[in-house]
């Protein structure tokens, strides 16, 4: 796959410079607001001198300056964010999308669309203590087929303003909200003859034998039981869905990896959410852009999607249907 590397780097560099420019001039109104206490104090002294001494009309220039600075700051911040957005769109359209189109046939890609909140709730992913009613964004929806298996993937971001009483230091999004989930959610066609759902998630130290009406099940693999919690409506369905190949696959995801994983099988689809390392189409304008590294990252993510289909034999199941 031949990318127009020169053009990509040039366009992104221009946008990065524009972003840095607006970030610098944004400091001016920010500084004015930072010293607002001082300006108000000066105005109080002026006010006393003017009213008591001369009786002239007093104009509170400090308040005017502060209000104008706040407005200017907001405008510059909005422009800055739009430049950041444009940077991401250029990266997606010029780099990520061509690579995806060269790998998968019949692919549909929409950078502005993703899974809806309602769809994600229906997936019944095991996200303990994380509510899907918080701030939710999903974009970069890919719909494609690989080895006869239909799949969809989208980046998702879940964040909240509320500060949690735990020891985790969470990164913040562009609005200052704490990020709870920032990752990729994929849906694969996976017909299974099971009762209810089978939910798998990275272990979080929960000891309950039941959760949301489902019972905890342990399989024969101790490594898997150490790394993952499994909850299901029916024990037999767990052993039917979690074959030795599936167990090995999930174990391999945990090797040297700090990503959190949540997966659900509902008899029609397999949903896999991987979060903790950001989305597939992320290009941070604040970081140095290394085109080779980004290309490798995109190919690695695509290879991971393909590996899931092959290792779990999703294509063999698709052939049987």
């Amino acid at each position: 796959m031949q990318l127009d590397r020169g053009k990509i780097v040039k366009e992104l560099r221009v946008l990065k410079k524009t972003y840095s420019f607006y970030k610098r001039i944004e400091m001016v109104p920010a500084l004015i607001c930072a010293f607002s206490g001082l300006w108000i104090l000066i105005d109080i002294i002026r006010c006393y001198k003017i009213i008591i001494s001369n009786g002239n009309v007093f104009v509170p220039w400090s308040i005017v300056a502060i209000v104008c600075s706040l407005l200017l700051y907001k405008i510059l911040n909005k422009i800055k964010l739009s430049v950041q957005r444009k940077y991401e769109m250029v990266f997606k359209r010029m780099m990520a999308e061509p690579i995806l189109r060269s790998t998968f046939e019949n692919i549909k890609y929409n950078p502005e669309k993703g899974f809806s909140r309602h769809e994600v709730k229906k997936m019944q992913l095991l996200l303990m203590n994380i509510s899907l009613d918080e701030h939710f964004e999903s974009e970069d929806l890919i719909e494609a087929e690989y080895m006869g298996v239909q799949f969809m993937q989208s980046d998702i971001l879940l964040s909240e303003y509320r500060r949690r009483n735990d020891n985790y230091i969470r990164p913040k999004d562009y609005e200052g909200r704490e990020i709870l989930i920032d990752g990729r959610l994929a849906r694969f066609s996976y017909k299974l003859d099971i009762k209810g759902v089978v939910q798998i998630a990275t272990k979080k130290g929960m000891k309950w034998k039941r959760y949301m009406g489902k019972k905890r099940v342990e399989v024969e693999d101790t490594e898997f039981n150490k790394n993952f919690d499994v909850f299901a409506d029916d024990e037999h369905s767990v052993f039917y869905a979690l074959t030795p190949q599936v167990i090995d696959y999930f174990n391999s995801l945990r090797v040297g990896n700090k990503e959190q994983i949540a997966a659900t099988m509902d008899g029609e689809f397999l949903y896999v959410l991987r979060y903790g390392k950001g989305g597939l189409f992320k290009a941070d304008i604040k970081e140095e852009f290394d085109i080779d590294q980004k290309e490798k990252q995109i190919y690695a993510e695509i290879a991971e999607m393909q590996r899931l289909v092959k290792v779990l034999h999703l294509h063999k199941r698709a052939e049987r249907e």
Partner: protein, 177 residues
């Protein structure tokens, strides 16, 4: 002093009853998984019957005879179930090999559908077997660990057998046309 002994006796009694119930609960899980194997074996037998009927004119006499020796009844021991499962494995392997010998059979829609059903019921049997073995392992571990082993001894509980199909037998299949 007597009150202390009385209290101690009650504590031991409660501990004994709790562990008795724990052992019985583990045993019930084993029995439940055992019945899961029965269901899976029955389903497999039914599908194999249909498949054998579809390929009757192609398979060997020995395959048909082998299948006729398979008898499913309620109350079978694990050993008997293992034997039945192994026989079904042998018949299933012979049918697959026969299909490879006769392409017109292997490509027929009816046979392909039956083959998919067989794969499905075999996967269910695998799951039932693994679930049974997981419960038996938990039960055997529970009654072997001290001091629960004392309670198990009093109840007369013994280790249960795992369901281990003899995989090697699946390899010993001759093609007889």
């Amino acid at each position: 002093m007597e009150a202390m002994f009385g209290l101690l006796f009650i504590i031991i009694l409660i501990w004994f009853v709790l562990n008795m119930n724990g052992i019985r609960a583990a045993e019930l899980k084993v029995e439940e998984a055992d019945s899961g194997i029965d269901v899976a074996l029955t389903k497999r037998y039914d599908v194999l019957t249909k498949q054998l009927a579809a390929v009757r004119e192609y398979v060997s006499y020995e395959s048909k005879t082998l299948f006729e020796t398979i008898r499913l009844r309620s109350g079978m021991t694990i050993g008997e179930k293992i034997e039945v499962s192994d026989k079904m494995n042998a018949v299933s392997s012979q049918i697959r090999l026969t299909a490879e010998q006769y392409p017109q059979l292997g490509s027929s829609a009816n046979f392909v559908q039956l083959q998919n059903s067989i794969t499905d019921v075999e996967e269910h049997l695998q799951a039932a077997r693994r679930l049974y073995n997981a419960n038996v392992t938990a039960y055997n571990t529970k009654i072997a660990m001290f001091p629960v082993s004392i309670v198990a001894g009093v109840m007369g509980k013994r280790k249960k057998q795992l369901f281990e199909a003899e995989e090697t037998k699946r390899q010993d299949v001759e093609i007889k046309l």
